[in-house]
């Protein structure tokens, strides 16, 4: 059966990594691009087969055992994979969107000297992401979890000769590691609580437990800390905007569509544990919402097109956590899927713009590109509508599902969340208008060279635009005459999905959010098209709120002052004073007498080494001789 061949899905990209890694300097670019993309396509094809096979199978959970990985005493960690509705659908997203982004990269990276390296890293990323998705226990998941972190590090620092980029890469790795410590400690608690790290052993036990246990709450909290690092939530989100230093396809694949949603995937997978910890669920909802709002406010004033999208990603991830926090696991995962489509699309469109403008990312130097880049414009418009949440585009359905659950849970949270959704519509259309409308604000010389991207780049845009437009079909709610296929599909993994409001309320909620979104778009239209407003240059003084937003609430500066600098000072103190003066001073005090007394030893150092070796041998031989003589 094809499900038993699931190990091929990650293995084939790994082979692609090895081949392209070895041939990176010798193969032609077209060969590298072909190998790199086709391995992902093969994985995608197998994933489709697995998805179909699982659909027609009564058994919805298959474990595929490969080998014993770590075992020590009672601890046994097999390298084995779990194919169930949740992982099967993630496989499709990772390999499907991954494949499109590989195709795109052939065009986007064609003149980069690191072409081979880039494709090998991308393949390696897909390999680790698939391990993360497929692991049948927390530790195999953790291999993928940290492995994608490594690829993220390598790809953010892809142009490593720029030391800012290299620093951004390091920052991403370290911040993720903070979360990872939480993850690891959570796994330790899981092991001592459930006696295993295997999902199939843990969740049945969790299903039989009652909410309120302190240890379970701690486990949930620690896993959530892990998710905060990987999925860029407060307070660990500052690495993601910096991660935009990587090539744009990387931003689309890793820092929007797949890796950053790993935290949501992990929590959705562990939904039975989180259901047992209502307090932590509340924490998750609040952190998610706070992240969504803070990031949305920052996005309002950013001028770098990729930074807008980066903060928008942080904000959307916040919405997903908000959904998880109110128990809407399906809604959150639904948003993972639609977000993968439209955010990958938006980043790739931004990449197409950047490509056309020869690495210009500042929207203040863009404008009027609608005619010059028609495909990019239309597809980006679709992506923007999708994220803003206008029906019938995909983002509408997933976001509204989350919001509806939030409403039932807590009306204040809903109010804030809906306000954030209006901000989203505003800053996204601001980006669209600044980029494609009005007059071109770059130099006349550069204007002539602007051209639409090659087919290898526009093809993925078109496919993703279609998916962004119609992707919502998998989760049309009953109230709109759908049957919510996704909820049914995920039912074996996610049973409890939170409560929805009654139909009348749901209509009103939808109407409010759609009306608000349209008004926000109107504001953006008025300001950036009617008034042709262009963001002011960096050095201009801004009003307080705009200044805070533009400077990202000074998070980086605060972390620097509160954490990095004090640690470095402590480091210097420990080294120069405590180690060299205090401890070593005591040691030297003790040693002084001994050293004085053993001055004779010093004389030995000027001698002939050969002589000492000879003496050692003589010594050893005489000891041996003594042995034989005394026998």
């Amino acid at each position: 059966m094809i499900i038993d061949l699931v190990w091929l899905v990650p293995l084939i990209p790994l082979i692609g990594f090895v081949i392209n890694g070895l041939g990176r300097n010798t193969f032609s670019k077209s060969l590298i691009g072909f190998i790199g993309s086709s391995v992902i396509f093969i994985s995608f094809a197998i994933s489709v087969g697995i998805f179909l096979a699982l659909g027609s199978d009564v058994n919805k959970s298959h474990e595929v055992f490969l080998f014993d990985w770590i075992s020590a005493g009672a601890l046994h960690i097999p390298l084995s994979f779990l194919v169930d509705p949740l992982s099967a659908i993630m496989l499709l997203i990772v390999t499907g969107v991954g494949f499109l982004i590989h195709i795109y990269s052939i065009g986007y990276m064609h003149s980069d000297e690191g072409f081979g390296k880039f494709f090998s890293y991308l393949n390696l990323f897909i390999f680790f992401m698939l391990l993360l998705v497929l692991g049948s226990n927390y530790i195999v998941m953790f291999i993928g979890w940290e492995g994608v972190g490594l690829c993220s590090y390598l790809l953010i620092g892809f142009w490593y000769t720029n030391s800012n980029y290299a620093s951004a890469a390091k920052k991403a790795f370290v911040m993720n590691r903070i979360g990872d410590l939480g993850f690891l400690l959570g796994v330790f608690f899981i092991f001592t609580t459930f006696g295993s790290v295997e999902f199939s052993k843990i969740f049945p036990q969790a299903a039989a437990m009652l909410p309120g246990d302190g240890t379970i709450a701690l486990i949930a909290l620690l896993l959530f800390i892990g998710a905060c690092g990987k999925s860029a939530q407060l307070p660990l989100f500052t690495w993601l905007p910096d991660a935009m230093a990587g090539p744009t396809p990387v931003s689309a694949l890793i820092h929007a569509a797949t890796m950053v949603t790993a935290g949501i995937y992990m929590i959705a997978r562990s939904n039975l544990i989180f259901d047992l910890a209502p307090v932590i669920q509340h924490v998750i909802a609040i952190v998610g919402l706070a992240t969504a709002i803070v990031a949305a406010i920052i996005a309002l004033t950013q001028t770098d097109i990729k930074k807008v999208l980066a903060y928008s990603t942080v904000s959307q991830l916040g919405y997903m956590f908000l959904g998880l926090g109110v128990g809407a696991y399906n809604g959150a995962f639904f948003h993972v899927i639609t977000h993968a489509f439209f955010k990958a699309l938006l980043f790739l469109c931004a990449g197409s713009v950047i490509h056309a403008l020869h690495h210009e990312q500042d929207m203040r130097h863009m404008g009027g590109l609608r005619k010059k880049l028609p495909v990019t414009f239309i597809t980006m418009l679709i992506g923007t509508i999708a994220i803003a949440g206008l029906p019938p585009f995909s983002g509408f359905f997933s976001k509204d599902e989350i919001l509806a659950h939030v409403y039932v849970h807590d009306k204040v949270l809903w109010g804030i969340a809906v306000f954030g959704a209006f901000l989203t519509a505003f800053y996204m259309f601001r980006m669209l208008f600044l980029t494609f409308y009005g007059k071109y604000r770059g130099t006349h010389h550069s204007e002539e060279k602007i051209h639409e991207s090659p087919a290898s780049m526009t093809f993925p845009l078109i496919v993703l635009a279609i998916l962004s437009a119609i992707g919502g079909i998998i989760g049309i709610p009953e109230v709109l005459g759908g049957s919510h296929w996704l909820s049914d599909w995920l039912e074996p993994v996610i049973k409890h999905t939170g409560e929805s409001p009654d139909h009348a309320t749901e209509y009103i909620l939808m109407a409010v959010s759609v009306a608000g979104v349209i008004v926000s778009i109107g504001f953006a239209y008025f300001k950036y098209i009617k008034q042709s407003h262009v963001p002011v240059p960096d050095e201009t003084k801004r009003p307080l709120l705009a200044n805070l937003s533009y400077n990202k609430f000074y998070f980086d500066e605060i972390y620097d002052a509160l954490i990095r600098k004090p640690l470095d000072v402590l480091s210097g103190f420990f080294y120069k004073i405590f180690d060299n003066k205090v401890i070593d001073g005591i040691v030297n005090g003790f040693g002084l007498g001994t050293t004085e007394a053993s001055k004779g030893l010093r004389l030995l150092q000027s001698g002939n080494v050969g002589f000492y070796i000879f003496m050692m041998v003589v010594g050893i031989i005489s000891l041996l001789l003594y042995t034989y003589l005394s026998l």
Partner: protein
């Protein structure tokens, strides 16, 4: 089978003698000898039954009047350290291939002498023999550092020597004390295990041994000899010290300290664990701002050893098994790191981080291999470092959750200082110094490729190694806990 162990121990000695007199061919002779040792090790591993028993035992009466015998053997714990020694020695010899040493034959001979001493330490079942090996391993490394080291070598080395000797004297006192307590008046390990010492006596024995081992590893605050010694020693010396020699201390704890003085562990173990964890954080923080890459790695080694030590004293299967595989992994990784720095300093004459940068552009293969070693050091899953750190942290966690949380900071701090170093050395723009940096070739490639292959192989499939030691480790833990219940 007994001959195999004797051969294993004494072959390097023969190799050393031949090396001494083989002039310019010395390095080849030494390499050949070490490869034969490696082959013998493979034979030992193949013939080893992974149970708790001690195998390949040799037991000859030696100095009968004093009850000293040449008693040695290999169990699942020894075999890990034997593998460590005999895998690393050929690699370390190879790292010396490109250097032009004055009196190179003496240097290579000393390495082989040291190998013999180390193997005695790791296989001895007689306390006197153990002590002989302990000191026999020290003398060659002393000369290696004192003769071929950097400009401050004499002063630094004297401190190292005196400090370690002072530590060993404590152990010697401990051994003699045990000997006197032993009604059979011999140095046999089993007799020592069987001694009926009360809690206070075990407490004293505990400290006598612990100080010797703590200095060797080194555990905070007994570490101040280490950074300077590592920095001033020639690269091969640093590798021998950090890769293999410090494991003498760890091994000593497992083989001698825990089974002989479990009551001491019960009384004082928490202090050791706390010291170890302080060492992890303290040394990591110091590594943050080190200007010399070699000194940075030296401090990072203190942090790593701190975790191993904490895992051992937690006294459970996960912690102990983590220590076993981490001894191997740390040895491999630290040799790799010091070799990368040696390659850089022999080309550029400096290891000052601020002067370097942009080497990756010039030497991509060195950069890739160095990255893999760095990843192993920061315990990325899929590399050898992860298996060890994961098991160690889990072991410490079972001892105490809060201590584990602090010890776990190593995975964050390690990433900070290692990636800082990697970035400042390898990434960024090529400067006037690093321009024209030649990529690795020949023996350099052989060594670094082997190390990278080991890092990944052990990380992906650690089972064979874990299996070798599991039974012995569990036996040891049972033995210690049993003895504890009988004391109480």
């Amino acid at each position: 089978m007994e001959q195999l162990l004797l051969l294993l121990i004494f072959l390097p000695l023969v190799g050393a003698l031949v090396t001494t007199f083989s002039g310019t061919a010395a390095k080849h002779v030494a390499l050949f000898s070490s490869i034969v040792s490696l082959a013998l090790t493979i034979a030992v591993v193949c013939n080893f039954t992974p149970d708790a028993s001690t195998q390949f035992v040799v037991n000859y009466p030696w100095i009968q009047d004093l009850g000293i015998s040449f008693h040695a053997g290999i169990d699942g714990i020894s075999i890990i350290t034997v593998i460590l020694t005999n895998v690393l020695i050929p690699l370390i010899i190879l790292t010396g291939y490109k250097h032009e040493y004055k009196n190179g034959n003496a240097l290579f001979a000393l390495i082989l002498f040291m190998q013999s001493g180390l193997l005695i330490v790791f296989t001895a079942l007689d306390a006197f023999l153990f002590y002989i090996g302990w000191e026999a391993a020290l003398i060659p490394i002393y000369f290696i550092c004192a003769v071929w080291g950097g400009k401050d070598r004499i002063k630094v080395n004297m401190k190292f020597f005196v400090y370690t000797i002072a530590g060993s004297l404590f152990m010697l006192v401990g051994i003699i004390y045990l000997y006197l307590q032993n009604p059979a008046h011999n140095f046999d390990i089993q007799a020592f295990y069987n001694l009926n010492l009360d809690g206070a006596q075990q407490g004293w024995v505990f400290w006598a041994f612990f100080i010797a081992f703590a200095i060797k590893m080194p555990v905070f605050p007994f570490h101040t000899w280490q950074p300077s010694t590592y920095t001033e020693a020639p690269a091969v010396g640093t590798m021998l010290l950090s890769g293999i020699m410090l494991k003498m201390g760890i091994y000593g704890v497992i083989r001698w300290l825990l089974p002989i003085a479990p009551a001491g562990l019960q009384q004082w173990g928490y202090i050791v664990i706390i010291l170890s964890v302080i060492g992890i954080i303290y040394a990591s923080l110091i590594a943050f701002t080190q200007k010399d890459a070699k000194r940075l790695v030296a401090y990072s080694s203190i942090a790593h050893v701190g975790l191993i030590s904490a895992g051992i004293f937690a006294l459970n299967t996960q912690g102990m098994q983590g220590a076993m595989i981490q001894m191997l992994s740390h040895g491999i990784n630290v040799v790799g790191l010091f070799f990368v720095l040696d390659i850089i300093s022999s080309r550029l004459k400096t290891n000052r981080i601020s002067e370097l940068g942009g080497i990756a552009k010039q030497a991509p293969i060195l950069a890739i291999t160095a990255l893999i070693i760095v990843l192993g050091t920061v315990a990325l899953p899929g590399t050898n470092g992860f298996i060890g750190e994961f098991l160690l942290l889990m072991g410490v966690y079972q001892y105490n959750i809060w201590i584990a949380a602090f010890a776990g900071l190593t995975i964050i701090f390690g990433a900070v200082y290692m990636l800082r170093m990697y970035q400042n050395v390898m990434l960024g723009k090529t400067n006037d110094l690093t321009i024209g940096f030649a990529d690795i070739a020949g023996t350099e490639k052989v060594v670094l490729y082997t190390i990278c292959a080991l890092i990944i192989a052990l990380g992906v499939y650690p089972k064979p190694i874990l299996q070798l030691s599991e039974a012995s480790v569990q036996h040891l833990i049972e033995q210690v806990t049993q003895k504890l219940t009988s004391v109480n």
